[in-house]
Each structure stands twice: as C-alpha cells, then as structure tokens.
Amino acid sequence: MGTSNEKLKKGRIAKMLGYGALTAGLYTAVFANQGTVMLYFTKGGLFAATLPVLTAFLIAFSHGGFTNYFWQVMGIDASKKKVQQRRQEQEHPVEREQIRPQPRLRA
C-alpha cells in the first residue's frame, strides 16, 4: 500500500514537472519575442485571429495540466466521500416522480 502510494506521488510529481516544463517553454517563447508575437497576433484577419485562440488552447492544455498536478502534489484534492457518492448516484439514478399526468386509454 505504502509503495503504491509512493509510486502514485512520484507519478504526479513527474507529470507536474513535465507539464511545467512545457508551460515554461511556451511562456518563454512568447515573452522573449514579444515584439514579433504582437506584430503577427494583432494583424487581424482570419489567419492571424487563429493565433491567439490556438495559443490560449495550448496554455489550457499545458498550464491546466501543471496546475492540476500541482494541487495534487500539495495534497489538496477533491473530497473522496462526495465524489464517490456522486458517482454511485449516476450509476443508480433514483427515478423522479412523474410530474406530467400519464395518458390512459379508456376501453
């Protein structure tokens, strides 16, 4: 149990560092070349418009991944009780009482 917890923690740290490196690379690339980036990203038109949008998606992936594992490595994670409860509710949903009157055929 202890070994598997340690493996899990090491795995999270490795992923955090991996995503962190990707994020650092992205930020360095943009801010070290601010002038060129702003020139092309603010040109307007359809091609140039995709540049900031794609960059934002890339950051969502890399920095989103980094921050996800960061909080886990810090020991801050979701309530296991509530998440498990919700998953059980989704697997076995309680039937809602009928709100609409059901049509009946009178023979």
Partner: protein, 363 residues
C-alpha cells in the same frame, strides 16, 4: 474600423507590478469562477483598464482568457460528476447568439449616446440584474442554510417544476442533471439572455446559473459547473470575433491565465466539500456587493450626460475609486468564503483518519 485599428496600436508596456497585479486578480477570479461558474470577469476588464489598457483590448483579452479557463474548470468539475455537457452545449449555442446581439446593441448605444451613454446602459443593466436576481439568490441561500440540517438533496423550485411539467411535442430533450425532459423553447430565451448579459456586463453567469437552478431545476452544483461549458462556448466565439480585429493582447491573456488556472482548480476542488447552498451564498454575496459598486457610478454617468447637475472632479474621483474598491472587495469576499469552505471541509474529512493514525501510533 479606423477606431478599432487605433485602439489596437495602444498595447501597454508590461512591468513587474502589472504582471503581479494581473496574476493575483486572475488567481482570485479563477478561484471564484471555479466555485460558482462565473464572476471573475467583471473585475478583470476594469482592472486592466486601470492599468491603461484601452477598453476594447481589455474586453477582448478578458474574453480570450475566459474560454481556456472555463475549459479547464469544466473538465475538472466533470471529473467530479457535476457537468451536464448536453445542457451546457445547447445553452451555450443560444448564449453565443445572445452575445452577438448584445454587442450589436452596445455598438448602437455607443454610436447614439457616446461613451457616457454606453457606460450608463451597462451600469443600469448591472443594477437591475444584480438587485433582482442577486437578492433572490441570497434569500434562497439563507433559507436553504436554515433548512439544510443534513439534507443533501436540494428542493426543485416551483417555477422549475412547472417548466418540467410542460410538454411541447417535438421540442422535448431529456437532461440527466434535471432527471426530466424540458422543452428547448425554455432554454432558448434563457441562453440568449445569458449571452446578452455577458456582452453587456461581461458576466453571463449571473443570469445563467440562477436560470438553470430556478427555471430548469438543476441543482446548484450542477448549474455552476455547467455554466463553465456555456462560458467556454461564449468565450471561444467572442474571442475569435475580437481576434479578427487584432484586439487580443496575448501577453495579458497569458499572465491572467497563469494565475486563474491555479485558482479555478482550487475553486472546483472546493465544490466537493460544500453543500449546494454555499454556491448560492457566494453568488448572492458577490452580486449584492457588486450592485453597490455599480450603483455608485450611475450619478457619474448621469452627470456626464447632463441629466443631473454636473458633479465636481473631486466627487467623481471619490465615486470612481469607491466603486472600484467595492468591486475588488466583492471578489476578495467571495474568494475568502470559498477558501474557508475548502479548508473547513478538508479538515473535517481528514480528522477521523488523523485521529485513527495517532491512536495507532499510541499518541
């Protein structure tokens, strides 16, 4: 187009203080958004403008930071089983239409009445929506707190029960989160109004989340999480629109995201430790506080339009600074409630395990 081109050339120089300020505001905004599904954006636009960023660039950059933040938040909350993707996407499509129409109205008002007229329109919209919806949400939160006593299941509002009972053939869609079929004819105006509000005051969620809760009958945890999907759809479309005119300052977007992606993860985690009424409490608190912030600016715009006696410069400065300070306070107050809820919840969950391990080690 000439005005827009002029705005686009006024990108600010960045320094350490600017970066730290945007990172911090981004973090706090993300924390609140991760919890209630919206709410950070209304501080960011005026926050950026206070640094000298032109209004259109501030709105565009805010929009471009919103959709990746909402994407990350939605994915996180989907892992906790809180997102109704079908509801979010359908709602989002009509919200997007509302955004485009809302921008069109804004442009017409600005053309007819200038900046002061546009600002007055935005402030009145703020005050009306926050007063009506905010006080309703707050009242419901306080009522739910009193009645909670171990109850996990939230009661469906009367209006939502009626909406769920209406059967319009050919328009009915089943939503898992509602455990019921609802006509898309109810979702269309709700989504559209959310988008219009987003285009007007930058926060569609102040209508979207209460709309999903009280009109459609979604539990507050689901409504606030699903709103992140709506925010993603609105933000992506709006960002592309502004980027076509070269108005997005990607540097500002990246600095705000650096902070907000930390915050949104934390806010999402916080929702797993609270009951539904806490979401309503945070939302109601922020809405009521921001209401006062915007109400302070109405005399300024009325004075600029000549509709009341002209206010002197000192009075205008006091009102503007007071309004900004209350707005920051609203966000910090919301963040404080979220952080406290997270810490209290984590301590309560870990206490039994800690006590057991202490007992084992003979302490």
């Amino acid at each position: 187009m000439h005005d827009i081109a002029q705005e686009a050339t006024k990108f600010i120089d960045l320094n350490l203080i600017t970066v730290a300020y945007l990172f911090f505001v981004g973090f706090v905004g993300g924390l609140v958004s991760g919890f209630i599904g919206s709410g950070g954006a209304f501080v960011l636009t005026p926050g950026m403008m206070s640094l000298g960023v032109p209004a259109l660039v501030a709105v565009a950059s805010n929009m471009c930071h919103k959709f990746p933040k909402a994407l990350v938040g939605a994915i996180k909350r989907a892992k906790y089983g809180q997102v109704d993707l079908k509801l979010g996407l359908i709602f989002g499509v009509f919200a997007e239409a509302g955004v485009f129409y809302g921008v069109h109205i804004q442009e017409n008002i600005k053309r007819s009445f200038g900046d002061a007229g546009s600002n007055l329109y935005v402030s009145v919209a703020f005050v009306l929506v926050l007063a009506i919806v905010g006080s309703f949400v707050m009242r419901d939160a306080l009522k739910s707190m009193k009645n909670s006593e171990g109850q996990e299941e939230e009661k469906t509002a009367k209006l939502a029960r009626w909406v769920q009972s209406v059967n319009i053939p050919g328009t009915m869609i089943y939503f898992k989160s509602l455990k019921a079929k609802v006509s898309v004819l109810f979702i269309i105006p709700l989504g559209f109004a959310t988008g219009m509000l987003a285009a007007t005051i930058a926060v569609g969620g102040f209508l979207g989340v209460p709309g999903m809760m009280y009109v459609l009958g979604a539990p507050s945890l689901i409504a606030s999480a699903t709103e992140l999907v709506v925010a993603f759809v609105m933000g992506a479309g709006g960002s592309l629109k502004y980027a076509l005119h070269g108005l997005v300052d990607i540097r500002l977007v990246m600095i705000i995201l650096a902070g907000s992606l930390f915050g949104i993860q934390l806010g999402a985690i916080g929702t797993t430790y609270v009951k539904g009424y806490t979401i309503k409490l945070v939302m109601g608190t922020i809405m009521i506080t921001v209401l006062f912030s915007r109400a302070l600016m109405i005399p300024v715009y009325l004075s600029q339009l000549g509709l009341i006696q002209t206010l002197n410069e000192t009075a205008v400065t006091w009102l503007k600074n007071g309004s900004f300070a209350i707005m920051i306070f609203a966000l910090l107050l919301g963040a404080f409630i979220v952080t406290r809820a997270l810490i209290t919840g984590m301590k309560a969950e870990r206490k039994p395990a800690l006590q057991a391990s202490l007992k084992q080690s003979g302490v």
